[in-house]
């Protein structure tokens, strides 16, 4: 047909400045209009689930954090919580509070990175640099206590590797307070900037029915009107005791998703300040592996305690746990036949679910809009491909 003869199929990616990682989009274009965009993934597939079967439980943790490399703590926390559930260990309240606080700081850091990448896609490197500037204090704080800026390995089965000092918590509060002031600058650059609004309002509208059908999670789902937040629906750690506001919007466009994430950053900031002030005293590890906490250093560095954690073995059974990462709902299903290695460890990644919705959203849009939609979904390809 003559109409279709004018359309060309272009490859966007896998190497492309604006596909956030390795994504190949097979796009059918005519002029500036995109008729369909089919995502091809798998370029970053590292076989995590197969890896998990070949590794002892504690050995898999570093590999797991490389999945979602932007919000590594959320997965770190989920995995350890799953192991604790399987072993029947109850972590001390101090550890739960610190983990919750770190989760929320991770949420701020991850949303800032998303904002940076999104602004860059829409053509404004200023937002990129300002967001990265805002991330620095938090990443330095992470590094101070966990040793890593992007990957932490902070949780242990039974609690946390290392305790935090009162002084550290005061500095967290100070950093968050400064961030809250600066957030208004970022908002002025984005949600209050007229060109940003024109580029994102009405773009990539995901209706409530489509959102439920495609199974999207996280801020994308909340921006389409469904108030599903695992921290509220199926709470974990200290969330049952926290008064958390679930932020939703009804429009379902890219602007709504931006607003949801920015409001979530504000909410997380508030929670971090609250948690940092009210962390209960107490030990930071409980259970049979608590010698490996560095309170007991240098004993914790002894061969015996290391071997004990390496030898962690889970009895036969299956367990399932889900948490809320900055991207959405993360979950793990563990099937164990006894022994130090899992029989099957299944990971659910929110970016994978959100990317599925993309092929629906990108029909009959403009190229520029397609890029904006892809950016607004907050995809991390380590997580998509596992």
């Amino acid at each position: 047909m003559e109409q279709e003869a004018k359309r060309t199929k272009i490859n966007f990616g896998p190497q492309h400045p604006s596909t956030h990682g390795v994504l190949n989009l097979l796009v059918e274009v005519e002029g500036d209009t995109v008729y369909s965009a089919e995502p091809h993934i798998g370029f970053l597939h590292r076989g995590f689930e197969k890896l998990a079967e070949e590794r002892r439980y504690i050995q898999f943790l570093p590999a797991l954090e490389k999945g979602d490399y932007v919000a590594a703590f959320a997965w770190d926390d989920l995995y350890m919580a799953l192991l604790e559930k399987a072993l029947g260990i109850e972590i001390p309240r101090r550890a739960a509070a610190i983990r919750t606080m770190m989760n929320e700081v991770q949420r701020i850091v991850s949303h800032l990175l998303w904002l940076a990448a999104f602004g860059q896609d829409l053509g404004q490197p200023t937002v990129f640099l300002w967001s990265f500037r805002e991330r620095e204090p938090f990443i330095n704080l992470f590094e101070e206590v966990t040793g890593g800026r992007l990957h932490y390995y902070y949780s242990r089965p039974g609690g946390l590797k290392r305790d935090v000092s009162r002084d550290y918590l005061d500095r967290v509060i100070a950093a968050v307070a400064k961030f809250e002031e600066r957030l208004s600058e970022l908002e002025a650059m984005t949600t209050k900037n007229i060109i940003f609004q024109k580029r994102t309002k009405g773009v990539g509208i995901l209706s409530k029915e489509d959102a439920m059908h495609c199974g999207v999670t996280g801020p994308v789902l909340r921006a389409s009107g469904v108030g599903e937040d695992i921290r509220k629906s199926d709470p974990f750690l200290m969330y049952p005791h926290l008064d958390l506001k679930v932020i939703t919007r009804n429009e379902g466009d890219a602007f709504a998703r931006t607003e949801v994430r920015i409001e979530e950053m504000k909410e997380s900031a508030r929670l971090v300040k609250f948690l940092a002030r009210t962390i209960p005293e107490g030990p930071v590890m409980a259970g049979p592996y608590s010698e490996t906490a560095s309170e007991k250093w240098p004993d914790s560095m002894s061969m015996a305690s290391m071997l004990k954690v390496f030898g962690l073995s889970i009895p036969q059974g299956e367990w399932f746990l889900r948490h809320e990462s900055p991207r959405g709902e993360i979950a793990m299903h563990l099937i164990s036949e006894g022994g130090p290695k899992p029989y099957r460890l299944r990971l659910k990644s929110p970016s994978f679910c959100n990317l599925y919705a993309f092929s629906r959203l990108a029909k009959n849009t403009k190229i520029a809009d397609m890029v904006a939609i892809l950016g607004s979904l907050d995809l991390v390809f380590g997580e998509v491909d596992r």
Binding site: H16, D32, G123, P125, T126, F196, A368, V371
Partner: protein, 315 residues
């Protein structure tokens, strides 16, 4: 006659040098200023305070491979970027430099506009000669954008021409004796700003070069020396745009400020362009075109008629 020729030749050489140096140092200023807006330093390593950065970049570009894609039209591929930059330098030669100008004409503004109107054709040729999908999409976008904003450009300048009664830059400047046109023709000023940013393809109207979407748009296939030449041409256009802004709307070199004041005005124009680059997101093509055809062009006509009315009723 011989003396006349030598003056022209020396002047041409100096002008080319000026063009090159301007492009180099304004490019550096842009990078450093935008860097500061971004909370970072910008180039600092090469030379004291990074002053030799553009020299290093120029050398880098020139020593790169002279690469013409296999299926590209070789002659047009090589000629079109050079011709585009030639057009920019041609524009430069119509602008006065102090009291000296190469070409003095009663219609110099009109000729400048005419040369500017040639650029979309050359861009189209360059894009077509590249023979690549990204280039053709970028080329079509660039041409659509420039054509939309040329109308706005002409409409913004028309009232000035009628008020001052001439197409000559010198006479337009002397017509601003009492008030700068920025104040007496504010709408024309706004229209001119938008038009000029769109025609020089600077942010927020840089869709044809949208890095995050189409690699580099119509410039995609031009690497190394070609890219340096195109970049040079673009910075010269920036100078021409700032010059026109200062001459047409900020009182030019007349009045109390003279030529030094004029240099400051040109610099202010350049700053406006640099800061708008750091602050605004890229507009989508159809939004850009809507803005032009549905808002700016009607505004331009209305402004022009209003200005005519005011001029003829007060005479």
């Amino acid at each position: 006659m011989a003396v006349f020729d030598i003056t022209i030749i020396i002047g041409a050489v100096l002008l080319t040098l000026f063009g090159g140096l301007f492009a180099a140092y304004i490019g550096l200023l842009e990078r450093k200023l935008i860097g500061r807006i971004h909370s970072r330093y910008g180039p600092t390593m090469v030379g004291p305070y990074g002053l030799l950065q553009t020299v290093a970049d120029a050398i880098k570009f020139m020593q790169k491979d002279f690469f013409v894609p296999k299926r590209a039209d070789k002659l047009l591929f090589i000629v079109s970027p050079v011709f585009l930059t030639f057009l920019s330098f041609l524009l430069l030669s119509y602008l006065p430099w102090g009291n000296f100008s190469f070409i003095v004409s009663q219609y110099d503004l009109l000729i400048i506009l005419g040369i500017v109107a040639l650029s979309p054709v050359i861009i189209l040729v360059a894009a077509w000669a590249s023979n690549s999908k990204y280039s053709s999409i970028g080329g079509l976008r660039a041409v659509t954008q420039i054509l939309a904003y040329e109308g706005v450009l002409f409409l913004s300048i028309l009232p000035l021409v009628f008020i001052s009664g001439s197409f000559s830059l010198a006479e337009i400047i002397s017509a601003q004796k009492n008030y700068w046109f920025m104040f007496s023709e504010p709408f024309a000023f706004l229209l001119f700003l938008f038009a000029v940013i769109a025609i020089t393809e600077r942010q927020p109207f840089d869709l044809p070069e949208a890095e995050s979407e189409l690699v580099q748009g119509w410039l995609t296939e031009f690497g190394g020396p070609f890219f340096a030449v195109i970049l040079l041409g673009q910075y010269i256009m920036l100078y021409v745009a700032s010059f026109l802004l200062a001459a047409l709307f900020l009182g030019g070199w007349g009045g109390a400020f003279g030529w030094i004041g004029f240099a400051v005005k040109v610099f202010a124009g350049v700053l406006v362009f640099i800061i708008s680059r750091a602050t605004y997101f890229r507009m989508r093509l159809d939004q850009l075109l809507d803005f032009s055809w549905k808002f700016l062009v009607p505004l331009g006509f209305a402004n022009f008629l209003l200005s005519l009315l005011i001029v003829y009723t007060s005479l």
